[in-house]
Amino acid sequence: MSERRKLTAAQITDAVEELCIRANTQLPADVQAALDAAQAAEPWPLAKNTLGLLQKNLCIATEKELPICQDTGMACVFVALGQQVTLEGDLYAAINEGVRRGYQKGYLRKSITADPLQRENTGDNTPAFITLHLVPGDSCTITVAPKGAGSENMSRLAMLKPADGVAGVKAFVLDTVAQAGANPCPPVILGVGIGGSFDQCAALAKKALLRPLDVPNPDPYYAALEGELLAAINATGFGPQGFGGATTCLGVAIEKLPTHVACLPVAVNMSCHVTRRATARL
């Protein structure tokens, strides 16, 4: 049997602190590449200009050490914890401490209310929204994906009928984009979950947003569906910021799971042109 590896709470906290700041100030390379390609290809002058402003925004954020977007989001933290890792200390407390420090040190906005109805701000952007998976091995991979509310609020889930089939899924995704309009800051990026249970389907949609835009679904059926949805969304003409143009969506990622014979859940986690994620491996 292989030896167990030790990780301390302090190591987790330090990593999360750094990831919160990095994620909010540097766009992932695949998202930047998709934006650059869209700007180069955009035929509509106002849209091309608007995409150029988004590129300029990224440069200013780097130069001035400013967050790319003022909504530095809820700190969604995904942990893939190796089964041979022994943690010294409390993982959840360590992550929250990292969020607390990162949002303070990085001059990031504190956007979390302690209670959904009584709305008092927690003041330090905790708690983190943590998803933990146990995986084989002796390493721990942490991804921080700050999620803004402009797009999160436009996300939807439907329990379709099996008879609705793939046509029903496509119609639901396209209707979600149409209803969202300019609220989620197009060009958008879509994470789509299909199948599973009610709760798993929503989690799948969020998980899909972690996949780089240049990596299609490994299943050719779903890769084709991703391409088809992307083309259909861009044919709407909504354009960047909803001002009109060819670039409404930069990417669609679909994740799927087995489901019940009577179910066809579909969830769309809407995200924006500032789809942020930063990863560290300990």
Binding site: W44, L46, A47, T50, L53, L54, K56, N57, L58, I60, A61, K64, E65, L66, P67, I68, C69, Q70, D71, T72, Y107, L108, R109, K110, S111, R119, N121, G123, G148, A149, G150, N153, G181, A182, N183, C185, T236, G237, F238, G239, Q241, G242, F243, G244, G245, A246, C272, H273, V274
Partner: protein, 189 residues
């Protein structure tokens, strides 16, 4: 068309604006979003004065990030305006001249914009670092307990904005995509 405007804004100055025009806005802009709007509504219900005069004013729907030492403001892009829709017609009736945000508004807001000769201006959503560049100073003038949602008085210079709803019923969210799609049809012929 591109217009340079200075606050306070008059209906005469706003009248020529058409959806899709560019505005470079200078002067004083007040920030207010969800929680501040709820408190302003409560003050109006009680017959009390608001933290700032609405006549000719511009409200920017924004919750900036904390400023670094030596900077006027942090990242400061627009938030979704539709969340303020239920409060907006009343404020427009009291003289609010311009709103700055992103996203579609309700029919009631559109009607109130026309009725009051006001304007709804779009800032680039998700471009918080870019939008911060036109903010010269920032001071909290009400409800510091609201944190990023506190009411701030911003002095802005040539803030780059796009007319989304004009005083004549023009709506860029309808007209912009339609014009683009029409250009494709023409090209296909």
């Amino acid at each position: 068309m591109e217009y340079s405007l200075q606050t306070p804004l008059t209906t005469a100055a706003l009248a020529p604006l058409k959806a899709g025009d560019t505005v470079l806005l200078s002067g004083v802009v007040y920030t207010a979003r969800d929680a501040a709007h709820a408190r302003m509504a409560a003050l109006l219900d009680e017959g009390k004065p608001l933290p700032f005069a609405l006549a000719g004013a511009a409200i920017y729907y924004v919750g900036p990030t904390p400023e670094r030492p030596g900077c006027a403001i942090g990242a400061a892009g627009p938030t979704t305006a539709g969340r303020m829709d239920s409060f907006t017609p009343r404020l427009l009736g009291l003289g609010l001249a311009a709103m700055i945000g992103k996203g579609k508004r309700s029919d009631a807001v559109k009607a109130a914009v026309v009725q009051n000769g006001a304007v709804y201006l779009g800032a680039i959503g998700g471009a918080g670092a870019l939008m911060a560049g036109s903010v010269k100073s920032c001071e909290i003038v009400a409800w510091p307990d609201l944190g990023c949602e506190a009411v701030r008085k911003l002095v802005v210079e040539n803030m780059p904005l796009t007319v989304l709803l004009d005083a004549h019923g023009g709506d860029l969210y309808a007209a912009g995509p339609a014009a683009y799609l029409q250009s494709l049809q023409k090209a296909a012929k």
